[in-house]
């Protein structure tokens, strides 16, 4: 049921090249604050750039070792020409590291089109909204010029519709996982979400619709000994979850991560001016730690914990990720207050299975003891 999603993720470059062979433009992005709907409305396919397991070699000449493995990996791949098929690269204003990685990429790796989208850091004010609508209007113009097209209100509304459908469908997977016996695992959900970021949303929507129809009758539902929540920064491969859900027999029943619930939770309103609606969605969505104020994310974590009845939380952050690291003590405190045990681990582009196995095993034993 998940084979085609896995194939898309594992052969992402070939898949992107196939899209190009079909005459489509493919635009790379780093982070989910990129307003993909506008790219889609410009007739291009937004494709998220993920890390790979290869140890970076060329990015060391640009980024010191204390930058997150994600940034170093994506820059390394860029420098090695792995993304030379891209018709453009767009980066939003979120963390310092990615903003500067974009600048280094722009200086070192030619692309037909570059854009830096000034997503406000403050997401709760009218002034930020006004500013962001203007910034999106600017981006719209830049995309139109770059791809020789016109983005009308209607074409933007259609793009929003496709994306809303995509998000709603993937959110269904989260609802299914809240059941006593979830019929879909964390790994499988992650595959679906990652695949959605690597292909045309229209095609992906069809596949997910079929998946949702088939799932209730699946003959091999995941086993669920312990229900876990994943709270993470950027997790762009399934190795960690496969280890936890496979070998160690736990089930990740919900999450707060940018390749997870933070991507699918919030839709764009279909009322009013579509550009204004789009700006509103990106500002109102569950925030990443780079946005202020952070409380909506803390609430989301506690809500998901409750509705999915998670028994423990896996905190998995990119090594050297400052924004997540600054929020970590508060999240830890809230979870402690809620009586939920946690285990913390640092994530790199290639996980160290031995270490993780030991820590998570010990954690699961502790969770089980607490239940008893």
């Amino acid at each position: 049921m998940f084979t085609s999603f896995r194939e898309t993720v594992e052969s992402r470059h070939n898949h992107a090249r196939e899209l190009k062979a079909q005459g489509k433009k493919v635009v790379g992005y780093f982070c989910i604050y990129t307003p993909e709907e506008l790219i889609h409305a410009a007739g291009a396919v937004p494709v998220r750039i993920f890390s790979c397991e290869e140890q970076p070699t060329q990015s060391d000449a640009h980024l010191q070792p204390f930058f997150c493995p994600f940034a170093r990996s994506i820059l390394d791949q860029g420098l090695k020409g792995r993304y030379d098929y891209l018709d453009g690269l767009i980066a939003p204003s979120t963390c310092d590291t990615l903003r500067l990685t974009y600048e280094i990429w722009k200086k070192s790796i030619p692309m037909p089109f570059f854009d830096f989208v000034n997503v406000p850091t403050r997401v709760d004010t009218v002034n930020a909204r006004t500013f962001f609508v203007k910034e999106l209007a600017r981006l719209k113009g830049a995309l139109e010029r770059a791809y020789d097209t016109v983005i009308t209100d209607d074409s933007l509304r259609r793009a929003i519709d496709v994306y809303n459908t995509s998000r709603s469908q993937m959110k269904e997977l989260y609802v299914l996982r809240e059941a006593d016996k979830p019929i879909v695992s964390g790994t499988e959900t992650l595959l679906v979400v990652l695949a959605s970021m690597l292909t045309t949303k229209d095609e992906h929507n069809k596949k997910v619709k079929e998946l949702l129809e088939k799932l209730p009758s699946r003959s091999n539902p995941p086993s669920c000994d312990t229900r876990l929540m994943l709270v993470g920064s950027e997790i762009d491969n399934t190795a960690l979850l496969e280890l936890i859900e496979g070998e160690l027999g736990a089930l990740v029943v919900t999450d707060d991560s940018c390749t997870g619930s933070r991507y699918v939770w919030d839709n764009v309103t279909t009322e009013g001016d579509p550009l204004v609606a789009l700006a509103g969605r990106y500002l109102d969505k569950i925030p990443c730690p780079t946005k202020h104020p952070p409380e909506r994310r803390f609430q989301h974590i506690l809500e998901k914990l409750k509705t999915a009845r998670a028994q423990g939380v896996l905190l998995a952050f990119q090594k050297f990720c400052d924004p997540h690291s600054f929020d970590y003590p508060e999240i830890e405190r809230l979870l402690k207050e809620a009586g939920i045990p946690t285990v913390y681990m640092e994530v790199e582009n290639k996980i160290a299975p031995g270490q993780i196995r030991t820590r998570v095993q010990a954690f699961l034993e502790m969770v089980e003891l607490e239940l008893v």
Partner: protein, 429 residues
């Protein structure tokens, strides 16, 4: 011969002003003034027009770093509270002080309000969120839009936030804005920047009239207190005495034979490292971190990308004009290419013989792009360069022996190049 600097006449005034900044906090609170924790990039021009006592987080981080062994304890206190050692060292100083209750000023000065600003980096907002979380006091965040090429609506966004800040201060202090004070405060701050620019210019002289180590002590005047007449007076006094030295040909390193550009943050716990260079005949004649507090676009002239004509500031006659001048200052073009151009210009115009970068561990904003900057500068100028890995405020990331070995090798490289170069002291164009 050894390094035998002539003491600066304005030095005692500088010490007095710096002490005053620290004592304001305890005196201010006793006098019923509100203490605000804020980043240095929260418009001091506006802050000083109100009866509040600002504590600059960066300033606190710098003096805490200099607190000898205790500074490691502060970081440990932050780490014990769950804040990773990989995080900004300044933040660890304030947070560690907050959690342990002690710091370089004695007790941790609790905030009556907190203002975070994304002026230097995004992390400053996280840092002040962490402080505000502990104290249920009014908290505001200012969001500077970063852009290589800002437009009118970027300026409008920031301007609207400056007015938000003014309203915030009115509410926190329970007073109405004194428009004349704002105009005066902004004017004084900009005049201080003009004087600072002149000081930067004077460092072009051979020999350089002041040590970078001494100059760091004048930083609170330009960074935190520029809006005050006392700071303007101090900087003016410093400028005048440096101008006098230049006229007399009197330098700080009298046997100056090497002129260096230092890029990045200081090593606040080990400023004496600078003396090591002086003892080897090397002056630091420029530092992007220092010159950035002036009207950098004025210093550099027309062909560096600017926004809104910030090369020349207009003397404000009203609150509206004053706040607009402040906004124009903070919303300027920025990015990697700006940074590279600025660094090359500093090296060329100040006629550096070599450049040292401090790769500040945990500081993503300043550290990233350094390697590209270094490469571009080497290609453009052919100057010898050195990258030193350390931390601005965590002495555990500093190895003196390693630094000295690398510095020695670098200085030898610079000397060798000077010997070989036909145009002694001139950079390749």
């Amino acid at each position: 011969m050894g390094y035998q600097p002539i003491p600066l006449e304005s030095w005692k005034d500088c010490k007095a002003l710096n002490n005053e900044y620290g004592q304001r906090i305890s005196r201010g609170r006793a006098a019923g003034r509100l203490v605000g924790w804020m980043s240095a990039v929260v418009s001091p021009e506006i802050t000083w027009a109100f009866e509040v006592v600002p504590i600059g987080g960066e300033w606190y981080g710098a003096i805490a770093a200099d607190w000898q062994q205790e500074q490691v304890d502060l970081s440990q206190a932050a780490e014990d509270a769950g804040y990773s050692r990989e995080l900004c060292a300044y933040a660890r100083m304030s947070l560690g002080s907050m959690f342990s209750g002690r710091g370089p000023l004695g007790d941790f000065p609790k905030p009556d309000f907190v203002v975070g600003a994304k002026g230097g980096c995004n992390i400053q907002i996280k840092w002040y969120e962490a402080i505000a979380r502990r104290y249920p006091v009014p908290f505001l965040v200012l969001d500077t839009p970063y852009s290589p090429d800002p437009e009118e609506y970027h300026l409008e966004y920031y301007l609207s936030q400056l007015y938000e800040y003014i309203a915030f201060l009115e509410e926190v202090t329970g007073t109405k804005t004194d428009e004349e004070k704002v105009v005066k405060s902004v004017t004084t701050a900009f005049r201080s920047s003009d004087v600072w620019d002149e000081i930067m210019e004077l460092m072009k002289a051979r020999p350089c009239p002041i040590s970078m180590k001494s100059l760091y002590s004048y930083m609170p005047a330009i960074v935190n207190m520029a809006a005050t007449p006392e700071a303007l007076a101090l900087l003016t006094k410093l400028r005048d005495e440096l101008a006098q030295r230049v006229e007399e040909g009197a330098g700080d390193v009298q046997d100056e034979s090497i002129r260096l550009l230092w890029e990045g943050m200081p090593l606040w716990y080990k400023l004496d490292f600078i003396k090591y260079f002086h003892e080897n005949g090397a002056s630091f004649i420029a530092n992007g971190y220092l010159s950035g507090w002036g009207n950098i676009f004025r210093t550099f002239g027309d062909d560096v990308p600017t926004s809104f004509g910030t090369k020349i500031w207009t003397e404000p006659n009203s609150l509206r004009e004053a706040v607009l001048e402040v906004a124009k200052r903070y919303v300027r073009g920025r990015g990697l290419s700006h940074r590279i151009q600025s660094t090359i210009r500093l090296a060329q115009e100040w006629e550096a013989d070599g450049v040292i970068w401090h790769s500040n561990r945990g500081c993503k904003q300043v550290a990233s792009g350094e390697l590209d900057c270094r490469r571009s500068l080497q290609e453009e100028t052919g100057l010898p360069t050195l990258l030193l890995e350390a931390s601005m405020a965590d002495s555990r990331d500093f190895s003196e022996a390693q630094m000295i070995a690398r510095a020695d090798a670098f200085l030898e490289q610079v000397r060798q190049r000077r010997r070989e170069s036909k145009n002694v002291g001139k950079v390749q164009r």
